[in-house]
Protein backbone atom coordinates (compact mmCIF):
# COMPACT_ATOMS: atom_id res chain seq x y z
CA UNK A 1 0.00 0.00 0.00
CA UNK A 2 1.29 3.40 -0.90
CA UNK A 3 1.20 5.80 2.03
CA UNK A 4 -0.23 9.17 1.28
CA UNK A 5 1.63 12.24 2.40
CA UNK A 6 -1.55 14.16 3.22
CA UNK A 7 -2.69 11.32 5.53
CA UNK A 8 0.67 11.46 7.30
CA UNK A 9 0.39 15.21 7.75
CA UNK A 10 -3.18 14.89 9.03
CA UNK A 11 -2.07 12.23 11.51
CA UNK A 12 0.76 14.48 12.65
CA UNK A 13 -1.64 17.33 13.22
CA UNK A 14 -4.19 15.25 15.14
CA UNK A 15 -1.91 13.11 17.30
CA UNK A 16 1.36 14.99 17.30
CA UNK A 17 2.92 11.76 16.01
CA UNK A 18 5.29 12.46 13.09
CA UNK A 19 6.31 8.91 12.20
CA UNK A 20 3.39 8.32 9.75
CA UNK A 21 4.49 11.42 7.84
CA UNK A 22 8.11 10.23 7.74
CA UNK A 23 7.03 6.79 6.54
CA UNK A 24 5.13 8.42 3.66
CA UNK A 25 8.28 10.08 2.28
CA UNK A 26 10.55 7.66 0.34
CA UNK A 27 13.71 9.77 0.91
CA UNK A 28 13.11 9.84 4.69
CA UNK A 29 12.56 6.08 4.71
CA UNK A 30 15.78 5.58 2.73
CA UNK A 31 17.71 7.56 5.37
CA UNK A 32 15.86 5.62 8.14
CA UNK A 33 14.82 8.92 9.75
CA UNK A 34 12.83 8.82 12.99
CA UNK A 35 11.13 11.68 14.78
CA UNK A 36 10.39 11.72 18.49
CA UNK A 37 8.86 14.31 20.74
CA UNK A 38 11.04 15.24 23.68
CA UNK A 39 9.26 17.84 25.79
CA UNK A 40 8.53 20.76 23.47
CA UNK A 41 10.94 19.55 20.84
CA UNK A 42 10.73 17.22 17.88
CA UNK A 43 14.05 15.44 17.53
CA UNK A 44 14.84 13.87 14.15
CA UNK A 45 17.32 10.98 14.28
CA UNK A 46 19.42 9.82 11.33
CA UNK A 47 20.88 6.44 12.37
CA UNK A 48 24.43 5.83 11.22
CA UNK A 49 24.90 3.80 8.04
CA UNK A 50 28.21 3.19 6.25
CA UNK A 51 26.73 4.62 3.05
CA UNK A 52 26.44 8.08 4.68
CA UNK A 53 30.23 8.52 4.71
CA UNK A 54 31.68 11.24 2.47
CA UNK A 55 35.26 11.15 3.75
CA UNK A 56 36.47 7.60 4.40
CA UNK A 57 39.87 8.81 5.68
CA UNK A 58 38.59 10.70 8.77
CA UNK A 59 35.92 9.06 8.54
CA UNK A 60 33.23 11.75 8.31
CA UNK A 61 29.63 11.97 7.12
CA UNK A 62 29.02 13.48 3.67
CA UNK A 63 28.24 17.19 4.12
CA UNK A 64 25.33 16.96 1.73
CA UNK A 65 23.59 14.35 3.83
CA UNK A 66 24.10 16.49 6.96
CA UNK A 67 22.42 19.30 5.00
CA UNK A 68 19.64 16.89 4.03
CA UNK A 69 19.13 15.97 7.72
CA UNK A 70 18.87 19.67 8.67
CA UNK A 71 16.40 20.37 5.86
CA UNK A 72 14.35 17.32 6.88
CA UNK A 73 14.40 18.23 10.59
CA UNK A 74 13.42 21.83 9.78
CA UNK A 75 10.43 20.59 7.81
CA UNK A 76 9.43 17.95 10.39
CA UNK A 77 9.57 20.50 13.24
CA UNK A 78 7.56 22.96 11.14
CA UNK A 79 4.85 20.36 10.38
CA UNK A 80 4.75 19.54 14.11
CA UNK A 81 4.08 23.22 14.88
CA UNK A 82 1.57 23.97 12.09
CA UNK A 83 -2.15 24.64 12.43
CA UNK A 84 -3.05 23.67 8.86
CA UNK A 85 -2.42 20.25 7.27
CA UNK A 86 -0.31 21.35 4.31
CA UNK A 87 3.07 20.30 2.97
CA UNK A 88 5.50 23.21 3.35
CA UNK A 89 7.67 23.73 0.26
CA UNK A 90 11.27 24.76 0.77
CA UNK A 91 12.33 28.12 -0.70
CA UNK A 92 15.95 28.17 0.44
CA UNK A 93 18.34 26.91 3.07
CA UNK A 94 21.78 27.97 4.29
CA UNK A 95 23.77 25.26 6.03
CA UNK A 96 26.76 26.20 8.19
CA UNK A 97 29.21 23.41 8.87
CA UNK A 98 30.84 23.57 12.31
CA UNK A 99 32.69 20.25 12.68
CA UNK A 100 32.89 16.96 10.79
CA UNK A 101 30.06 14.52 11.43
CA UNK A 102 31.56 11.33 12.88
CA UNK A 103 30.56 7.78 11.93
CA UNK A 104 27.70 7.60 14.44
CA UNK A 105 24.02 8.49 14.84
CA UNK A 106 23.08 12.13 14.19
CA UNK A 107 20.24 14.18 15.65
CA UNK A 108 18.59 17.42 14.57
CA UNK A 109 15.76 19.70 15.55
CA UNK A 110 14.19 22.86 14.19
CA UNK A 111 12.83 26.01 15.82
CA UNK A 112 10.11 27.87 13.96
CA UNK A 113 11.41 31.42 14.33
CA UNK A 114 8.55 32.99 12.38
CA UNK A 115 5.40 31.52 10.94
CA UNK A 116 3.64 33.94 8.70
CA UNK A 117 0.62 33.27 6.51
CA UNK A 118 2.72 32.62 3.41
CA UNK A 119 6.26 31.99 4.60
CA UNK A 120 7.86 30.33 7.63
CA UNK A 121 11.43 30.82 8.85
CA UNK A 122 13.01 27.84 10.62
CA UNK A 123 16.39 27.46 12.31
CA UNK A 124 17.77 23.96 12.64
CA UNK A 125 20.73 22.43 14.44
CA UNK A 126 22.40 19.04 14.23
CA UNK A 127 24.58 17.22 16.76
CA UNK A 128 25.85 13.76 17.64
CA UNK A 129 26.86 12.47 21.10
CA UNK A 130 27.17 15.86 22.80
CA UNK A 131 24.40 18.32 22.10
CA UNK A 132 26.63 21.24 23.12
CA UNK A 133 28.91 20.39 20.18
CA UNK A 134 26.78 21.13 17.13
CA UNK A 135 28.06 19.66 13.87
CA UNK A 136 26.01 22.01 11.67
CA UNK A 137 23.24 24.60 11.79
CA UNK A 138 20.84 25.84 9.14
CA UNK A 139 18.39 28.61 8.43
CA UNK A 140 15.56 27.91 5.99
CA UNK A 141 12.45 29.49 4.48
CA UNK A 142 9.36 27.47 3.58
CA UNK A 143 6.37 28.47 1.47
CA UNK A 144 3.16 27.71 3.36
CA UNK A 145 0.58 28.20 0.60
Amino acid sequence: MKLKLSDGINAARKSGELQPFIQAVPYFRWLNLRAERLGDELITTMPYQDMLIGNPVLPALHGGVTGALLESAAMISLIGAMEEPILPRIINITVEYLRPGRAEDSFATGIVTKQGRRVANVRAMAWQGDRAKLIATASAHFMMT
Partner: protein, 140 residues
Protein backbone atom coordinates in the same frame (compact mmCIF):
# COMPACT_ATOMS: atom_id res chain seq x y z
CA UNK B 1 50.69 16.74 -8.72
CA UNK B 2 48.60 17.10 -11.85
CA UNK B 3 44.86 16.85 -11.53
CA UNK B 4 43.60 13.69 -13.24
CA UNK B 5 39.95 13.49 -14.26
CA UNK B 6 39.84 9.70 -14.61
CA UNK B 7 41.32 9.19 -11.13
CA UNK B 8 38.79 11.59 -9.67
CA UNK B 9 35.82 10.00 -11.46
CA UNK B 10 36.93 6.55 -10.22
CA UNK B 11 37.40 7.86 -6.67
CA UNK B 12 33.84 9.17 -6.69
CA UNK B 13 32.42 5.93 -8.07
CA UNK B 14 34.13 3.64 -5.62
CA UNK B 15 36.07 5.50 -2.92
CA UNK B 16 33.44 7.79 -1.42
CA UNK B 17 30.60 5.70 0.00
CA UNK B 18 27.78 8.26 -0.12
CA UNK B 19 28.60 9.39 -3.67
CA UNK B 20 28.77 5.74 -4.77
CA UNK B 21 25.49 4.96 -2.99
CA UNK B 22 23.53 7.74 -4.71
CA UNK B 23 25.10 6.86 -8.07
CA UNK B 24 26.77 10.24 -8.49
CA UNK B 25 28.66 10.36 -11.80
CA UNK B 26 31.31 12.97 -12.51
CA UNK B 27 30.80 14.01 -16.15
CA UNK B 28 33.53 16.65 -16.47
CA UNK B 29 35.87 18.56 -14.20
CA UNK B 30 38.53 21.17 -14.93
CA UNK B 31 39.52 24.72 -13.90
CA UNK B 32 36.23 25.97 -15.36
CA UNK B 33 34.04 23.85 -13.10
CA UNK B 34 32.62 20.42 -12.39
CA UNK B 35 29.56 18.77 -13.94
CA UNK B 36 27.87 15.75 -12.39
CA UNK B 37 24.73 13.68 -12.44
CA UNK B 38 22.57 11.67 -10.03
CA UNK B 39 20.33 9.24 -11.94
CA UNK B 40 16.74 9.22 -10.72
CA UNK B 41 15.67 6.63 -8.15
CA UNK B 42 12.34 6.20 -6.40
CA UNK B 43 14.13 6.30 -3.01
CA UNK B 44 14.97 9.98 -3.59
CA UNK B 45 11.33 11.08 -3.86
CA UNK B 46 10.20 13.67 -1.30
CA UNK B 47 6.54 13.94 -2.31
CA UNK B 48 5.04 10.58 -3.31
CA UNK B 49 1.92 12.27 -4.68
CA UNK B 50 3.87 14.21 -7.32
CA UNK B 51 7.02 12.05 -7.60
CA UNK B 52 9.23 15.12 -7.08
CA UNK B 53 12.63 14.41 -5.47
CA UNK B 54 13.45 15.64 -1.95
CA UNK B 55 15.64 18.73 -1.63
CA UNK B 56 18.14 16.63 0.32
CA UNK B 57 19.32 14.78 -2.77
CA UNK B 58 19.73 18.09 -4.62
CA UNK B 59 21.84 19.25 -1.65
CA UNK B 60 24.01 16.11 -1.86
CA UNK B 61 24.66 16.74 -5.57
CA UNK B 62 25.41 20.47 -5.19
CA UNK B 63 27.53 20.01 -2.04
CA UNK B 64 29.61 17.28 -3.73
CA UNK B 65 30.32 19.29 -6.88
CA UNK B 66 30.93 22.52 -4.94
CA UNK B 67 33.74 20.86 -3.02
CA UNK B 68 35.15 19.08 -6.07
CA UNK B 69 35.22 22.05 -8.45
CA UNK B 70 37.96 23.65 -6.30
CA UNK B 71 40.38 20.73 -6.65
CA UNK B 72 41.67 21.44 -10.19
CA UNK B 73 42.51 25.03 -9.16
CA UNK B 74 44.65 23.99 -6.23
CA UNK B 75 47.27 22.25 -8.37
CA UNK B 76 48.62 20.03 -5.64
CA UNK B 77 47.96 18.56 -2.28
CA UNK B 78 45.28 20.49 -0.41
CA UNK B 79 42.08 19.72 1.43
CA UNK B 80 38.83 21.66 1.59
CA UNK B 81 36.17 21.85 4.30
CA UNK B 82 32.74 23.38 3.72
CA UNK B 83 32.05 26.54 5.74
CA UNK B 84 28.59 27.10 4.39
CA UNK B 85 26.32 26.29 1.50
CA UNK B 86 23.21 28.21 0.53
CA UNK B 87 20.69 26.61 -1.80
CA UNK B 88 17.81 28.45 -3.44
CA UNK B 89 15.12 26.16 -4.81
CA UNK B 90 14.03 27.92 -7.98
CA UNK B 91 11.30 25.59 -9.19
CA UNK B 92 10.03 22.06 -8.45
CA UNK B 93 12.03 19.27 -10.04
CA UNK B 94 10.25 17.34 -12.80
CA UNK B 95 9.26 13.87 -11.57
CA UNK B 96 11.37 10.82 -12.48
CA UNK B 97 14.09 12.74 -14.34
CA UNK B 98 17.83 12.59 -13.65
CA UNK B 99 19.46 15.46 -11.77
CA UNK B 100 22.48 17.34 -13.12
CA UNK B 101 24.59 20.11 -11.63
CA UNK B 102 27.37 22.41 -12.78
CA UNK B 103 29.40 24.30 -10.16
CA UNK B 104 32.52 26.46 -10.45
CA UNK B 105 34.90 28.25 -8.10
CA UNK B 106 34.65 31.96 -8.91
CA UNK B 107 37.21 33.15 -6.37
CA UNK B 108 40.09 31.39 -4.66
CA UNK B 109 42.18 33.11 -2.00
CA UNK B 110 45.02 31.61 0.06
CA UNK B 111 42.57 30.20 2.64
CA UNK B 112 39.06 30.41 1.20
CA UNK B 113 37.29 29.25 -1.96
CA UNK B 114 33.96 30.69 -3.11
CA UNK B 115 31.74 28.61 -5.37
CA UNK B 116 28.47 28.89 -7.19
CA UNK B 117 26.45 26.70 -9.48
CA UNK B 118 23.10 25.31 -10.50
CA UNK B 119 21.19 22.04 -10.45
CA UNK B 120 19.08 21.28 -13.51
CA UNK B 121 17.32 18.51 -15.41
CA UNK B 122 16.74 18.96 -19.14
CA UNK B 123 17.92 22.58 -19.51
CA UNK B 124 20.83 24.27 -17.69
CA UNK B 125 19.29 27.67 -18.54
CA UNK B 126 16.13 26.73 -16.62
CA UNK B 127 17.68 25.44 -13.36
CA UNK B 128 15.78 23.91 -10.45
CA UNK B 129 18.22 25.19 -7.80
CA UNK B 130 21.12 27.62 -7.33
CA UNK B 131 23.97 27.08 -4.86
CA UNK B 132 26.55 29.41 -3.32
CA UNK B 133 29.23 27.98 -1.07
CA UNK B 134 32.38 28.92 0.81
CA UNK B 135 35.17 26.52 1.75
CA UNK B 136 38.27 26.56 3.95
CA UNK B 137 41.36 25.56 1.99
CA UNK B 138 44.28 23.90 3.78
CA UNK B 139 47.40 23.68 1.63
CA UNK B 140 50.03 21.16 2.60
Amino acid sequence: MEFDFENMATLMRSGIPHMAEVGLELLSMDEGGAVGKIPHREEFVGDPETGVVHGGIVTVLLDSLSGMCIIPLLGGMATTATLDLRIDYLKPAAPREDLFAKVHCYKLTRNIAFTRGVAYQSDIDDPIAHAAGSFMVTRS
